[in-house]
């Protein structure tokens, strides 16, 4: 069981200092992506990370134990809060097999509102909106 493919999706609120300039903010996010790529590769975890000034959303998939350990490490990171698991369970196949951590990046500024709305809903009613968050991220990564 512990080695079957397991997946979680969570959303959280971005707490990186809101007064930071957008360059330092982006640098911080870049370092989060890089750190998670390094960590994940060694434990066979793949996934995708979506973020903007307000929210994070992340998919983690892999054997259950490293997925849970990775989540626990992320959970202690004080650069975000209100971490809400919107989906968790065993999965048939990886959605991001080629990515230690894909960056789910919106193609244009216009999509920003839609993304915020989806994540905000997911934080409010996690169980009802987990699927939407996963679909959104798959969409964004493929476009990318």
């Amino acid at each position: 069981m512990a080695n079957d493919l397991y997946r979680i999706v969570y959303c959280s609120r971005n707490l990186i200092d809101e007064h930071s300039t957008s360059t330092t903010h982006d640098a911080e996010l870049e370092s989060i992506l890089n750190a998670s790529r390094v960590n994940n590769r060694s434990v066979d975890v793949t996934g995708a990370l979506l973020f903007n000034r307000e929210y994070f959303a992340q998919v983690l998939e892999g054997p259950r134990t490293p997925v849970e350990t990775t989540f626990e490490r992320i959970q202690r990171d004080r650069r975000h809060g209100e971490v809400t698991v919107v989906e968790n369970g065993f999965a048939g196949a990886r959605d991001f097999p080629e990515w230690a951590m894909a960056h789910a990046a919106p193609a244009s500024g216009q999509m920003e509102d839609g993304i915020c709305a989806t994540l905000q809903l997911a934080l409010l009613q996690p169980s009802a909106n987990g699927e939407d968050v996963l679909l959104l991220m798959k969409d964004l990564v493929i476009q990318d």
């Binding site: 397991y6 259950r64 134990t65 997925v67 849970e68 350990t69 626990e72 959970q75 202690r76 809400t84």
Partner: protein, 471 residues
Amino acid sequence: MQVEAHALNTASVHLTPLPLRVVPSPEHHARHKAQARTPGGDVDFLTGLASRARFEDELHRSLEEIAAGTRQGTGVLFLDLDRFKRVNDTLGHAVGDDLLRLVSDRLRGELHPDDVLARLGGDEFAILLANAPDPVALAQLSQRLIDLVQRTYLIEGHVVHVGTSIGIALAPQNGVSARELLRRADLALYESKNRGRGAFHFFEDEFESKALSRRDLEMQLRKAIVLRQLAMFYQPQVSVETGAITGFEALLRWRHPERGLLLPGDFMLLAEEIGMTLPIGEWVLRTVCAEAKKWPDNLVFAVNVSAQQFEDTAFAASVERALSKAGLPGHRLEIEVKEDVLLRNDPSVPETLHALQRMSVRVTLDDFGTGVASLSQLARLPFDKIKIDRSLIAMESADPRNRAIIRAVSALGQSLGICTHAEGVESLEHLQRVRSDGCHSVQGYYYSEAVPADQITQLIDKLKHLNTSTE
């Protein structure tokens, strides 16, 4: 032994390699390693944290240093987990143990390497600060610990939530003996739990007198049933359509010899702590059933039941006993439970709900709209009535969002065959508003406050009169 070692390994993959960082000298290190093999030693096996014995040793040492003038001060933080028992009960002890390890790691990560973090037992933790504490920094630390502990855990495929409350005592300000300091940290912890959990408090002198008066109250509460100081008051519930009384909500009061009339909020938390919820609950059921028996068959009497009482596996049986002792048919009794019953996700809850349904006892979801109950839960469980919380009714401005909630609940209730009831109706304006929003019945000061049993006749007459005069 091997299993234990393995579990500790997995939990600490990315964490502090040493379970204990407070190692004053190599000799001491050797000593504690040796003692770790014996029960009652320095190390808590489950978490790798310091044991209670070790914590007390370190505390004594710090206090001696303060007395000798070689140390400025120290502080003790007591923490315990909110809702831990529930995790253990529903997900099993293995998950509970993993949770304790993860909590330990999260706490450890926020502390200074020289702070002593100990598990005192069960879900109780204590921190002894290495440095003389600055209150502002300590408050920030406490808030961080609370925030971190209450974040979601994923354990063996389960999503787990707990919280923590913290009590803080400082030396030398709050005491110079270990005993005094620990007791005061404990009193501060009690204050945090009492004020809604997920909070921290520094010890204050008034906690001492509060603890004393709590002990008095406890002695008196133990005797209150026998001395016939408990009483039920009754508040009428009225049909919006006909204006007729449909029944009464029975409300518990304690006629305290010195303090006057006490409301449940003044003493039920204490009752829960000293294990009196169940006997008081039984008394309430018996008393209300006996009272209901005196009144016409169309009047329904509602009784408030705590989550603890409702989850007791013997609850349905005690309702059955109370009904049969009074000779009261089940449809005359209504049980009101609050949303926290749903939150606990206890497997006994749907069973009890169905058992009550089989006896024709109605079940009401109380205080809806204040917390966590979702509309989908309403659809899943067999409730007969939803009571919309007074806070949604009382808004002077009649906030359109609250009205939208009331309308949505009423509409959903309509389609599920659940009645909606508005509490806290204090004026004709409130009544008209909730009527147009689709509520079926109401209660509140507009009709009457809760009255003692011997005033029910008078109350019924008064409301008949009010009815004819408004028609």
